[in-house]
C-alpha cells in the first residue's frame, strides 16, 4: 500500500525580480504513512515550511512549483483543479500555525471557530460538529469541555489556545495534520503540556502528521521518523531512534551538539574575580513596579514586588521565569524605560533616577539594553555603519575616520566582516542581526549589559554561536551581564548567578551551581523538570512526576496574600502558604529561597517526587 502522502522529487524555486530563479527546495522525496508522525527539521531558511505547505498544494507568493509531485493517496495535489484543492484543505489536510493567538479570531467564540471547517465543507451538521469538538476538548485534556465552546479566545490561557488550535485542525477528521513550529514560542512548562496533548490526540485519532520544527529535543518526543533539511536539501532521513542516537550526517551531529544540555549543577562559568570592587555594578533594592500610573504615584497593575538583587562587576546574572513573571519588566526598570514606583536602583553604589529622561548621558552610557528581536530593534532605514556609529558620536563625540575605524573594530568584535558597515539590516540573517544588535550596545563601552531574551528567537545552532560570542566578550571586557531568558538551559550555561522570578517576586537566588543543585524552590524544580531532553521517552517520564502534574497547565497568577505559587506547588501547605507571605531562607553560599518549607522538607519533598 502506498504511503498516505508522498513527496516525490519536489523542486520549488523562488523567482527574483530579474526573472532568474533560485532553488528553495531541491529534489526532496519522502513519504508519510497513516498514523505516522514525520518531523522536518532544519534552521530557518532551510525550506521546511515551504515543503510542509506544498502538501496543501500551496506556495508562498514569489515561489513556484518547478517539478516533482506531492501525492496524497496517489493524487498529485500540485496539479489539482482549484475546486478539489478547496475540498482538500481543511478537510483532508489541516494546518496548524505557530501562533494560536494569531490564528483565532478574537470576536468569535472558540466553538464557532473549532467547528467551522466541517460545517463549511458540509461534512457534519452543527450538532455532530459540536459533539466532535467536545470529544476533542476531552482528548486534549482541556478544562470544562462541555462549556468551553461558548468562551472567547482571550478567556483561556496561551497553552490552552494552542491545544484548541489542534482541536480546530482535527475537528474535520483530516487524514494529514501539518504542524508548523507549534510549540516554539511557548514557555517550557507550556510546551510540555501542549506536546503531551498533541502526542496523545494524534495517537488516538490515528492521523498522520508532518511536524515542522528546528528543535531536536521536541522532535525526539513526538516523531516516528525524521527528515533533516539544510538549504532545501535532505541531508538525512531515517527513523527517530536512528537519527537521534546514531546520526550519520555531520550537520545532524552539529545540530545535536548545539542542543544545550539540561540544566544541572556545575555548569556556571567561573566568575572573574579580578573585576570585583566594593560596590556591585548594578543593584536593585526593594523595587516595585507596574503599569498604569495613578494620581498618587502608585501603579494600577503591579508586576514586580520588592525585588532586591545585585549584579557583581564582571558577573553574569541570569533571570528566569515563565512569561508574565516580570523578567522583561525588571530589565525595563533597570534601564529606566519603566520608572520603578518604589525602591532604588544603584549603579556602582550611586543612586540612579527611576526615569531614564532624568539620568545623565554618562549614566545612560554605562547601562546598555540589548533588545530581544534584532529584526525590530535595528532601524531598517539605517546602515550598520550608522547604527553602530551613532552611540560612538553620541557618547564620545567621535567623528569621521576615528569613528569608522571603531565601527570596524566593533564588527570584528562580534565576528562579522567589516564590509557590513555599508549594509542594511534586511540583508543579513537573524543571527548576524543579533550580533549587530549586541555590537551597538557594546559601542557605548557599558558597565552593565541588559540582555532581554537575546537568543530566544534564534535557531539552535545560531543561538549557540551567539552564546559562545557572549562568553568571549565577557572574558575580554569585564562587562556585567543581566541575562534574561525563559530557557533555563541557556541561562545555566552562561550565568554565574541565577534569579528565579515568579509572579513578580524573587523566589530563589544564588550562584548557578547552588540554585541548580538541590534543595531548590518547588518552582525552580518545575522549570528544571520541564526543559526537554534529547532523549526518546523523556516526555512520558516527566509527565509521571508529581512536580509536573502539580505545576503544568496552570497560569501565572499574582496573589495579594500568601505565596503566588500556592496552586501549582506539590509541597504547598493549606492554611499557611495561601495565607502568609513566605519568609526568605538564607542557605549557605549566598543562596536564598523564599518558601515556607525548610531545607530538610525540600530534600524530603524531592525524594518523594
Amino acid at each position: 500500500m502506498p504511503p498516505l502522502l508522498e513527496v516525490d522529487r519536489l523542486v520549488i524555486d523562488a523567482r527574483t525580480e530579474s526573472g532568474a530563479t533560485t532553488p528553495i527546495v531541491k529534489d526532496v522525496s519522502f513519504g508519510i504513512d497513516r498514523g505516522e508522525v514525520v518531523a522536518l527539521i532544519g534552521e530557518s531558511g532551510s525550506g521546511k515550511t515551504t515543503i510542509a505547505l506544498s502538501a496543501l498544494g500551496y506556495t508562498k507568493p514569489g515561489l513556484e512549483f518547478t517539478s516533482g509531485e506531492v501525492r496524497l493517496e496517489g493524487r498529485d495535489v500540485i496539479t489539482m483543479p482549484p475546486g478539489e484543492i478547496r475540498d482538500l484543505r481543511g478537510q483532508r489536510v489541516a494546518y496548524l500555525a505557530q501562533s494560536a493567538a494569531a490564528t483565532f479570531n478574537p470576536a468569535l467564540t472558540i466553538g464557532e471557530q473549532v467547528t467551522e471547517s466541517p460545517l463549511l465543507h458540509g461534512q457534519m451538521n452543527r450538532e455532530e460538529a459540536e459533539r466532535r469538538a467536545e470529544e476533542l476538548y476531552r482528548a486534549l485534556e482541556l478544562p470544562d469541555p462541555d462549556r468551553l465552546g461558548r468562551r472567547y479566545p482571550h478567556q483561556v490561557s496561551g497553552g490552552q489556545l494552542q491545544r484548541l488550535m489542534a482541536a480546530m485542525a482535527l475537528c474535520g477528521k483530516p487524514d494529514l495534520l501539518i504542524l508548523d513550529e507549534p510549540t516554539t514560542a511557548l514557555d517550557v512548562t507550556t510546551q510540555i503540556e501542549v506536546l503531551k496533548a498533541f502526542k496523545a490526540v494524534i495517537r488516538q485519532e490515528g492521523a498522520a502528521a508532518l511536524y515542522v520544527t528546528h528543535d531536536l529535543s521536541v522532535v525526539a518526543q513526538i516523531a516516528d521518523r525524521i527528515v533533516v533539511l539544510y538549504a532545501g536539501d535532505v541531508l538525512e532521513h531515517g527513523n527517530a531512534d536512528q537519527v537521534i542516537n546514531r546520526p550519520s550526517h555531520e550537520y545532524t551531529r552539529r545540530l545535536m551538539a548545539a542542543v544545550r544540555p539540561p540544566p544541572a549543577a556545575g555548569q556556571g562559568d567561573d566568575a572573574l574575580e579580578e573585576h570585583l570592587r566594593d560596590h556591585p555594578a548594578l543593584a536593585v533594592r526593594d523595587v516595585s513596579a507596574g503599569y498604569g500610573r495613578l494620581m498618587d504615584g502608585s501603579v494600577a497593575v503591579t508586576v514586580l514586588r520588592d525585588v532586591t538583587i545585585s549584579v557583581q562587576r564582571g558577573h553574569t546574572m541570569g533571570i528566569i521565569g515563565e512569561s508574565g513573571c516580570g523578567k522583561s519588566t525588571l530589565a525595563r526598570v533597570m534601564s529606566g524605560l519603566l520608572p520603578a514606583s518604589e525602591g532604588a536602583i544603584l549603579l556602582d553604589g550611586q543612586q540612579l533616577q527611576p526615569d531614564l529622561r532624568r539620568r545623565d548621558r554618562d549614566q545612560l552610557r554605562r547601562v546598555q539594553f540589548v533588545f530581544q528581536m534584532a529584526d525590530v530593534a535595528l532601524n531598517p532605514r539605517q546602515r550598520f555603519g550608522g547604527i553602530l556609529g551613532r552611540p560612538l558620536g553620541f557618547y564620545f563625540g567621535w567623528r569621521g575616520r576615528e569613528r569608522r575605524q571603531r565601527v570596524a573594530e566593533l564588527l570584528e568584535m562580534v565576528e562579522l566582516p567589516t564590509e557590513f558597515a555599508d549594509r542594511y539590516p534586511e540583508e543579513l540573517s537573524g543571527g548576524q542581526k543579533q550580533r549587530v544588535n549586541l555590537a551597538r550596545a557594546l559601542a557605548a563601552s557599558p558597565e552593565v549589559l541588559l540582555c532581554d531574551e537575546v537568543i530566544s528567537a534564534l535557531d539552535t545552532i545560531v543561538g549557540a554561536n551567539v552564546i559562545e560570542l557572549l562568553k568571549r566578550l565577557r572574558q575580554r571586557s569585564g562587562v556585567s551581564f543581566v541575562f534574561i531568558s525563559h530557557d533555563l538551559s541557556t541561562v545555566a550555561s552562561f550565568a554565574d548567578e541565577i534569579v528565579v522570578l515568579y509572579a513578580g517576586r524573587v523566589v530563589e537566588q544564588g550562584p548557578t551551581d547552588r540554585v541548580l543543585s538541590p534543595p531548590y524552590h518547588p518552582y525552580t524544580r518545575l522549570l528544571i523538570a520541564s526543559v526537554p531532553e534529547l532523549r526518546i521517552g523523556w516526555l512520558e517520564e516527566t509527565m509521571e512526576s508529581r512536580v509536573a502534574q502539580a505545576g503544568i497547565d496552570r497560569v501565572v497568577r499574582m496573589t495579594e496574600i500568601g505565596c503566588s505559587f500556592f496552586d501549582r506547588c506539590p509541597l504547598a501547605i493549606e492554611g499557611v502558604c495561601n495565607r502568609e507571605t513566605p519568609p526568605v531562607r538564607h542557605l549557605s553560599g549566598g543562596h536564598a529561597i523564599e518558601c515556607h518549607r525548610s531545607e530538610a522538607e525540600f530534600i524530603e519533598g524531592i525524594q518523594a517526587a
Binding site: T16, L364, F394, S429
Partner: protein
C-alpha cells in the same frame, strides 16, 4: 568516511527586499505624468495662441464661401484650431496647454502645503504628550467633520478668490487628512524597539523624529502624496467648475469644463478635452501609486479608510 569540508553558513532570513519595479501600467502612468510635467514647463511657449485670445473670424472663413462672418464658437477641430474652440471662440488646445500650468501648479503647491502642515503636526501628535495629541486630534476631527467643499465655498465667498487664497485654503483643508495618516504611521513606528533603543541611549526628540521615525514613514507617505495630489486636482477643478476657483480669463481645466458645458448638446469636444486632461493625469498618478503601494507591502492601503 572522509570528513567533508562543508561549512554550514547561517542562512539569511528572507531574500532581500525587491527594488521598486513598475508594472506595465505603472510605466504607462510614468509616461503620462512625465508628458504633463513637460507641458507645465513648455506648454505656453508651444501653444499656437494665448489662452485669452478670442480667435478672429477671418481665420474661419472657408475659401470659396461667401459668408464673411462665420461662427467662431464651438468649432470642431480644424487646421486653425486643432482641438476646436470653446464657447467664446478661444482655442481649446492653447487653453489646455496654459491650463496645465495653472491646475498642476496650484495643486502641487496646495499638496506641498498640506504635507508641510499635516506631517509636522501629525508627527508632533504621535510623539508628543497625550495632551497635545488629544487636542490636535480633536481639532482635526472637527475640521474633518465639515464637508470640505462647503467650507471652501463659504470662505471663498467671504474673502474672494485669488490664487494664493486658493492654495492656502486647499492646503489647510487637505492638511487634516494628511495629519491623520502621519499620526497613525508615526504611532506605529514610535512603539518599535529601535525607537525604544534610541530612547534608552538618551536621544532627544529631534533625533527620534528625523532619524528614526520619518525615514520609516517616508515610503507610505510618498504613496499618499500621489493620491492626495489627485484629490487636490479634483478639488481645485470642482471649485473652478463652480466658478469659485481660477478666475477668467486665466484658464484652468476645471473652469474650462464648466464654461463649455453648454457645447455638449452641439457635439462640441471643448468640455471633453480638459476633462480628458484631468482624467489622464489623475489616473496616471493612481497607476504609479498602485505600484509603489504594492511595493511597500500594502501598509498604506490598510490605513486609508
Amino acid at each position: 568516511m572522509a570528513e567533508t569540508e562543508t561549512s554550514f553558513e547561517e542562512l539569511p532570513d528572507a531574500p532581500p527586499r525587491r527594488r521598486l519595479r513598475l508594472s506595465w501600467s505603472g510605466k504607462l502612468g510614468v509616461v503620462v505624468v512625465a508628458f504633463w510635467m513637460v507641458i507645465v514647463v513648455i506648454g505656453p511657449s508651444i501653444s499656437p495662441y494665448h489662452e485669452a485670445d478670442i480667435l478672429d473670424e477671418a481665420l474661419f472663413i472657408v475659401p470659396g464661401s461667401d459668408n464673411p462672418y462665420p461662427e467662431t464658437d464651438y468649432q470642431p477641430p480644424s487646421a486653425v484650431a486643432w482641438l476646436g474652440t470653446d464657447y467664446l471662440g478661444r482655442d481649446t488646445l492653447s487653453r489646455t496647454l496654459f491650463g496645465a500650468r495653472t491646475t498642476i501648479g496650484i495643486s502641487l503647491a496646495s499638496t506641498l502645503l498640506a504635507y508641510l502642515v499635516g506631517v509636522t503636526l501629525g508627527i508632533a501628535a504621535a510623539v508628543g504628550r497625550p495632551v497635545l495629541d488629544s487636542s490636535l486630534s480633536r481639532l482635526n476631527d472637527a475640521i474633518l467633520s465639515i464637508p470640505s467643499i462647503m467650507l471652501a465655498l463659504i470662505i471663498i465667498a467671504a474673502i474672494g478668490s485669488t490664487i494664493p487664497i486658493l492654495i492656502v485654503l486647499t492646503g489647510l483643508i487637505y492638511a487634516s487628512t494628511v495629519f491623520r495618516i502621519a499620526r497613525s504611521l508615526g504611532l506605529d513606528v514610535k512603539v518599535s524597539d529601535f525607537v525604544e533603543a534610541a530612547k534608552v541611549r538618551g536621544e532627544g526628540l529631534w533625533w527620534i523624529i528625523t532619524r528614526e521615525i520619518l525615514p520609516n514613514v517616508a515610503m507610505p507617505m510618498a504613496t499618499d502624496f500621489g493620491l492626495r495630489f489627485v484629490y487636490v486636482i479634483l478639488f481645485i477643478s470642482s471649485l473652478s467648475f463652480l466658478g469659485l476657483g481660477v478666475q477668467p480669463p486665466q484658464s484652468d481645466w476645471g473652469s474650462m469644463v464648466r464654461e463649455s458645458l453648454s457645447g455638449l448638446p452641439y457635439g462640441s469636444i471643448a468640455p471633453l478635452v480638459p476633462a480628458m486632461a484631468i482624467a489622464t493625469l489623475t489616473i496616471a498618478i493612481n497607476l504609479i501609486v498602485d505600484d509603489v503601494s504594492a511595493h511597500s507591502g500594502g501598509r498604506l492601503a490598510r490605513r486609508m479608510i
